[in-house]
Amino acid sequence: MKLTLKIWRQKSPKDKGRFETYKVEASPHMSFLEMLDVLNEELISKKEEPVTFEHDCREGICGTCGLVINGQPHGPNKGTATCQLHMRFYKDGDIIVIEPYRASAFPVLKDLAVDRSAFDRIIQAGGYISVSTGAPQDGNAIPIEKDQAAKSFDAAACIGCGACVAACPNASAMLFVSAKVSHLALLPQGKVEAQRRAQAMVRQMDEEGFGMCSNVTACEVECPKEISVTNIARLNREYLSASLGSEV
């Protein structure tokens, strides 16, 4: 199939950036990123600058890739990272617009690559259980109800790709933050620090320049791991009870 790509090209963080149009011949069995590989091979053979995009595992789990395809982070399919999108969902003659995430907390580095280190700093602010390596109690010492463990897992499935931020009109990172807060707060091991954690992570999120949550819930729709917005309610509860109790 013959496709027309309109791709965001930006030389550096300071460059203004613009769309460029490319033609590419793709097979329906290719993945979206393999289609971009084919384009880049062509550009390299013509001695042109290839398109910079980030990727690694190409199995939808490392969270490195993340393109905005025709306005949707990770493209049209539900519960799918960019690398898992295949060209069989497109047809001959389609025009595909490919952009980087747009959020002031995720500055564009080059072309389609953005800087997501703000997420690392949010985790460093408190997204962990304070336990050092050593000899903790036996793994079975604290039973955890099966459904509770499953809920915690559902939140822990976040791959930190940042699509939630790109999908949000406010560029809020609430889904990311709430997924980590929920993952840990739902487990007895993480309950101890839950309130302190929620406050510290939200403080860091605000410092990084992410927007406020106004319950648009576009984040849940675009999340490749289908993380639920229920987690945001859980974060708000932890944060509120921490804020009310802190001065007493």
Binding site: S27, H29, M30, S31, L33, E34, D37, V38, E54, D56, C57, R58, E59, G60, I61, C62, G63, T64, N77, G79, T80, Q84, H86, R116, S117, D120, I123, Q124, A125, G127, Y128, I129, S130, V131, S132, T133, G134, A135, P136, Q137, D138, G139, N140, I142, P143, I144, E145, K146, A149, S152, F153, A156, A157, I159, G160, H183, L184, L187, Q189, G190
Partner: protein, 534 residues
């Protein structure tokens, strides 16, 4: 030259505890002065960086990713072994040790493997304490499953994303140390060379991937947790950026490789579909617990399937060859990886392959749907349920167990595995060989350590399923933090190394010349080579 593996004396079962009790320690006030470079932030690298940071060393940690959480350990699906014997099915430290040795065709170092089996139990406790959401049963206790090659249930898992959850645990522990200032994290920095001072590893040359500049970093020792060399093969299941540069440069500086021929071919990958293919995707081997592997008995049937005239469902039971069950009745579909891979290749070589390329066999869940469905119907008190109802109930059980794997298969392949048998084919997956290390995980270059898949010692000629995560975390959390003291205790009076010293400047110059030379010859540096001629 001679190799001393420094295995401590004494009976196998007591080596590690005796050694730990008598080895040299570094006092806390000295740890603060000692710098350690760790390259790689997968399970081994991140867990080592976190633990050494907690101990008080000054750690500098490097990854070429934009965040330490992206390392390819994250893609491990199946699980992690531990000799907990929660299932009360006869497991023990000795049995895990023995299975690992036997599975590796008696080519692993016994002392290292026994230690690995011993600390496997601590890993589970540590991970649970970190908040890793392992699968649990209705009593709230940790659930286990059995994994290819063994006859006990000792594998702990978090749906099909065990590697992700364990890596996030290690990443979070590492993040805590970064926040506390014990670990200095260098994201988007790729190691390009190793710096030796008086024959000891004292630093690295890295490229800052944002600016393109080369940088020199110095420390008292260097730890490589940079994974295996699977991507020397044209297609593998390794991530795109796993380019083995760090370990390769270490060998160029004199480190020895051991067992480089021992490459694991994983039996259950999604078959290749075309020339443009960038990598292969693994389906967890845990699928073989419930799936049955088969090809048509007759070449005509296989040919019709390849040409799209028939599907797997059109082949009647008596025309199918469940070749693993037939050839290995004791283990059936759970034979070790190498055996399953070889058998699949033999079947395809005989013209019985079922994908258009001729390179695929079926992995069929029909029997599992019905078996689980019947047990579900029985416990729900349904009498004489219809086959369709039983199958529906069974599909739900399988969905709960392997839902994300089935989904992933459909996304890539375009076929619904709940309706059609899956197609699988072996692919390069893991490298048992690696940098030679002694009992302390130190290579033959003093001060250069190799942990996780990067070293060679624990898996012999063949790794058992769910043992890679175990080894990475064992090395990082529970072995290296002790054994590194044997080297560093000799260095407590050694001042910081100067990255502007002659050795560093010379190595940087070497690196620069090598890169420029590669560029002139049009070779992509550290990238993929062009495909072989067809």
């Amino acid at each position: 030259m001679s190799f001393d593996n420094n295995t401590p004396p004494g009976p196998l079962a007591e080596k590690w505890s005796r050694y730990r009790g008598t080895m040299n320690l570094v006092a806390p006030n000295n740890k603060r002065r000692i710098e350690i470079i760790i390259v790689g932030t997968g399970l081994a690298g991140a867990s080592a960086a976190a633990t050494l940071g907690e101990l008080g060393y000054k750690v500098k940690c490097f990854t070429f990713h934009d965040s330490p959480r992206r390392a390819h350990s994250i893609a491990a699906q199946g699980g992690i072994n531990a000799a907990k014997n929660y299932a009360n099915d006869g497991d023990s430290v000795y049995r895990l040790f023995y299975d690992t040795i036997k599975g590796g065709d008696y080519r692993s170092r016994e002392s290292n493997v026994y230690r690995l089996a011993e600390v496997s139990r601590n890993i589970i406790d540590q991970a649970v304490a970190q908040g890793v959401p392992f699968a649990r049963d209705y009593g709230g206790l940790l659930d286990n499953r059995s994994f290819g090659g063994v006859q006990v249930s000792r594998t702990f898992y978090a749906r099909g994303q065990t590697g992700q959850q364990l890596l996030l645990g290690a990443y979070q522990a590492l993040s805590r140390q970064i926040a506390e200032g014990n670990v200095e994290m260098y994201n988007r920095h790729e190691m390009l060379d190793l710096v030796l001072v008086d024959g000891k590893a004292r630093g690295i040359i890295v490229r800052n991937l944002l600016t393109g500049e080369l940088e020199r970093h110095a420390a008292h020792c260097v730890v490589l947790g940079t994974g295996g060399y699977g991507n020397v093969f044209y297609l593998s299941t390794n991530a795109m950026n796993c380019n083995v540069t760090a370990a390769w440069r270490a060998t160029r500086r004199g480190a020895y490789m051991a067992n480089p021929c021992f490459t694991q071919i994983h039996p259950t990958c999604i078959p290749q579909s075309g020339d443009y293919q960038s990598k292969l995707t693994l389906m967890s081997e845990s699928l073989r617990n419930d799936g049955r592997v088969w090809v048509p008995k007759k070449q005509e049937d296989a040919k019709a399937i390849r040409e799209g005239k028939k599907t797997g469902n059109d082949i009647p039971e008596e025309a199918r060859d469940y070749f693993l069950e037939r050839r290995y009745p004791a283990f059936g579909n759970l034979v070790p990886r190498d055996v399953a891979s070889r058998a699949a290749k033999v079947a395809c070589d005989e013209g019985l392959g079922v994908a258009p390329t001729g390179l695929a066999v079926f992995l069929d869940f029909e029997a599992a749907f019905m078996r689980y469905g019947q047990s579900k119907a029985h416990s729900a008190g349904l009498h004489n349920p219809s086959d369709a109802k039983v199958r529906e109930l069974g599909v739900k059980v399988i969905e709960e167990k392997y839902g994300n794997l089935f989904e992933m298969y459909e996304k890539i392949n375009g076929e619904d595995p709940y309706k059609m048998p899956m197609k699988i084919y072996p692919a390069v997956h893991y490298t048992m060989g690696g940098l030679w290390v002694d009992y302390n995980l130190e290579t033959n270059i003093p001060g250069l350590f190799a942990i996780g898949e990067c070293n060679f010692s624990d898996h012999g000629a063949n790794r058992l399923g769910a043992s890679a995560l175990m080894q990475g975390l064992a090395d990082g959390y529970f072995v290296l933090p002790y054994t590194i003291g044997q080297f560093l205790s000799q260095d407590i009076r050694t001042p910081k190394f100067d990255p502007n010293a002659k050795e560093f400047l010379d190595t940087e110059k070497d690196t620069r010349e090598r890169l420029e030379n590669d560029e002139r010859q049009g070779q992509p540096v550290g990238g993929k080579l062009p495909p072989p001629p067809r």
